[in-house]
């Protein structure tokens, strides 16, 4: 099953490679990974999307916790959470496709953030599924380039991940 892990870790050189190294050394999957500093400059927050059986996810969580620089790990799947990913997608937009692309962007609540005579660049935010659905919905042939951030996640309601 797909899981979203949220990790607070020391904002130190090498901490990221420890996490990534752990996943490759122990043959765990990384579907996506995002990381950046938080309001506390000594801490980074990472979101890893992974998949595996319950036993594997349990081991991943335990192994992450074992890393000295990891402060906290939570599996967002364990309670309600919100997930967002951003995609920038550059598409061919000429002739009748131009109108169609604008319409599709609107339907998916995307924004066109760059325009040339032949192209649109669309910014789209949502769950990873929604971004996937957009790609499915448009004609493959018009896609020139896509770049996705990978999912970030946060717990719903008043629950917070803090030290």
């Amino acid at each position: 099953m797909r899981h979203i892990l949220s990790i607070l870790l020391e904002n130190e050189a090498g901490a990221l490679s420890r996490v990534v190294g752990l996943f490759s050394a122990r043959a765990y999957n990384i579907d996506s990974l995002t990381v950046s500093t938080t309001e506390d400059p000594t801490l980074s927050r990472m979101t890893i999307v992974t998949h595996g059986s319950d036993e594997v996810i349990e081991q991943i969580t335990k192994q992450l916790n074992k890393l000295i620089e990891v402060v906290k790990v939570i599996d967002l799947n364990e309670s309600e959470h919100i997930e967002r990913e951003m995609m920038l997608i550059k598409v061919r937009a000429t002739g009748k496709d131009r109108e169609e692309m604008k319409r599709m962007a609107d339907i998916f609540r995307g924004r066109i953030i760059d325009v040339t005579e032949k192209t649109y660049t669309i910014e789209l935010t949502g769950t990873s599924d929604k971004l996937g659905a957009f790609i499915e919905a448009i004609d493959r042939a018009v896609i020139l380039e896509t770049v996705r951030t990978g999912a970030s996640g946060i717990g719903r309601g008043e629950r917070v991940l803090k030290i």
């Binding site: 081991q59 000295i68 402060v71």
Partner: protein, 588 residues
């Protein structure tokens, strides 16, 4: 007053009470070696290969309550250390390894003798540091020692660039460490401890399985008290040997791939198992599904949550330090005065005695060929079971584990997790330095000893009079055994040709050597080697043993604990009652 980074490092090691620093110099650590030259508090031991420095430091830890320290230069010095670091990591041994690094401005420029030591060792250390600022040295060393020995112990590498050892700063050694992201467990959860006790008291066929965690956690006394007070049968893993006295009748021997018949059968057919600082290794329980095909409740005490339910899902996990947790269990048991049902326990012991009656470690004695098992038995007798025994890797390691009955923890030093040939001699050396009055033996093979034989020179220089017991079968015996069993006796590259004359080798290094070819000479030569006349000398005993001897019992890959290959005298025993009678519950 400001002092150099190298001097700060030396002061830190002194503050940590370091007695010996095992190392080898080179460009990146010259500043440190200069600071060592100008101090007298600890002694530097100059090995002949960095791998040996790390094994010696590791064994110094294994055989004492202290943390061994090694120092190597950058580049090849650092990479030579990696096998030793991985060896300590796999067996959860506390150790601090300091490596030199090229100067910070040169990092990343493919500088002379530059390797990314932090990157290379990342997967085989508990933690590692690159110190980029002279003001961080003291703090980092304090943390390194703390991390190495707390929680689940392990090696910590501190990589220090040359310019950092030259820069100057004030020295202040921190009194305590706090790492917000690292808080190892000590006490177990009281509710879980209660559950565990209830399970043990209700058990019909209880069993205790003790591993390296009990040795490292200094919990032998608590293990013994628990075993005695509940009347439990006890087994140890290869790493746990000595955590419960090997000569006690409640000890069933080592379990696992080369464990005794009774230890393995009891593991398979117990109904409540308590695992103490042991990690359900594949060489111990073999195939998890087969192991669990006999229903049993499992209690698991381990300080590392990731060891729990890793290969085998357990019923009562207890995260905590073995010593603390066992003490709490013993307190509760003492207060309640409860015991498991005597009748059930008696039935269980009756079954165990029947298994034990087969004597799975029986071997065929010979008057012509020296049986390796016989050498270990005699060594046990002659050293009164009191020697510290360091071992290499192979058949000789298994015979040492099977036939030397270790009564105390930290008496048996071997590479279990990584299985590193070449561990034995440097380990014996490190253990001798940590225990100057102890008798230290190194049980080895003619293959393994040659992987670090250069340390005979270090042993001479530092007067470590270890006794090398080489079970020389002229084969990479463990490999040969597998080839005999699984590859139609095609002994591909497992024969050791062109062996040196080990007696001459020993003599060339200034030691004493004996070659022993007759069984009748085994005992007298051992007596001489371990006798008062040679007490201060390193003695190399080259026992020419039976080349065809195999280690039994043996569990083949993919087989279960009750599907052992048994020694010839037990071929008709097999594990019959159980193959056809999975409903073992009816038997007791």
């Amino acid at each position: 007053m400001q002092i150099s980074g190298a001097e700060i490092l030396v002061r830190c090691l002194q503050e940590e009470g370091v007695e010996f620093l095992f190392g080898y110099p080179g460009g990146a650590v010259l500043e440190i070696y200069d600071a060592i030259f100008r101090q007298e508090k600890f002694k530097h031991v100059l090995v002949r290969h960095e791998q040996a420095a790390v094994h010696a430091a590791d064994a110094y830890s294994r055989s004492s309550d202290k943390v061994g320290v090694a120092l190597v230069t950058s580049g090849p010095g650092a990479t030579n250390a990696v096998t030793g670091i991985a060896t300590a990591y796999m067996d959860s041994i506390p150790m601090v390894v300091i490596s030199g690094q090229v100067a910070t401005p040169a990092i990343g420029l493919d500088a002379f003798q530059e390797v990314d030591m932090v990157g290379i060792t990342r997967p085989c250390v508990k933690h590692n540091f690159l110190v980029k600022d002279v003001n961080d040295i003291a703090d980092t060393i304090k943390k390194a020692f703390y991390i190495a020995k707390s929680g689940r112990p392990g090696p910590v590498v501190v990589d220090i660039p040359k310019d950092v050892t030259q820069q100057r700063a004030e020295f202040h050694y921190p009194e305590s460490v706090h790492i917000r992201s690292y808080v190892p467990a000590t006490r177990g959860h009281p509710g879980q401890i209660k559950k565990a006790i209830n399970l043990l008291l209700e058990a019909k066929r209880p069993y205790i399985y003790v591993g390296g965690g009990a040795v490292q956690g200094n919990a032998a006394a608590e293990v013994t008290e628990l075993v005695k007070s509940l009347g439990l049968p006890c087994t140890n893993t290869l790493m746990g040997l000595g955590a419960y006295p090997g000569s006690d009748p409640q000890f069933l021997g080592m379990l696992g791939m080369h464990g005794t018949y009774e230890a393995n059968m009891a593991m398979q057919y117990c109904d409540v198992l308590i695992a103490v600082g042991a990690r359900f290794d594949d060489r111990v329980i073999s195939v998890p599904s087969h192991f669990l095909s006999q229903p049993k409740k499992i209690i698991h005490i381990d300080v590392d949550p990731s060891s729990i339910s890793k290969r085998v899902k357990v019923d009562v996990p207890i995260v905590g330090d073995v010593k603390h947790v066992l003490r709490e269990m013993l307190d509760i048991l003492r207060q309640s005065g409860q015991k498991p049902d005597a009748q059930h326990l008696a039935n269980w012991w009756k079954q165990i005695e029947e298994w034990r009656g087969h004597n799975s470690l029986l071997y065929t004695p010979s008057t012509e060929l020296i049986k390796p098992q016989y050498v270990v038995e005699k060594l046990y007798e002659i050293t009164g079971g009191k020697a510290i025994v360091a071992s290499d890797v192979g058949q000789h390691q298994m015979w040492a584990a099977q036939y030397y009955k270790f009564d105390s923890p930290k008496q048996w030093l071997n590479s279990g997790g990584l299985g590193t040939m070449g561990f034995g001699l440097p380990a014996a050396m490190g253990a001798q330095l940590a225990n100057p009055d102890a008798t230290v033996a190194c049980i080895t093979g003619e293959g393994s000893i040659q992987m670090n034989i250069q340390e005979l020179s270090t042993c001479k220089q530092y007067h470590t009079p270890v006794k090398i017991v080489a079970l020389n079968n002229r084969y990479l015996g463990m490999v040969r055994q597998w080839q005999e069993f699984f590859y139609g006796t095609r002994y591909s590259e497992s024969y050791m040709d062109a062996l040196p004359d080990f007696v001459k080798v020993a003599e060339a290094y200034g030691h004493v050597g004996f070659k022993i070819e007759n069984p009748s000479d085994v005992e007298p030569v051992l007596r001489e080697a371990f006798g008062p006349a040679l007490k201060e000398r390193l003695v190399f005993l080259d026992f020419r043993t039976d080349q065809s001897e195999n280690v039994f019992p043996m569990i083949q890959n993919g087989k279960g604990l009750d599907q052992m290959d048994l020694p010839p005298h037990m071929r008709d025993v097999q594990q019959v009652p159980f193959e056809n009678n999975r409903d073992y519950g009816n038997m007791c």
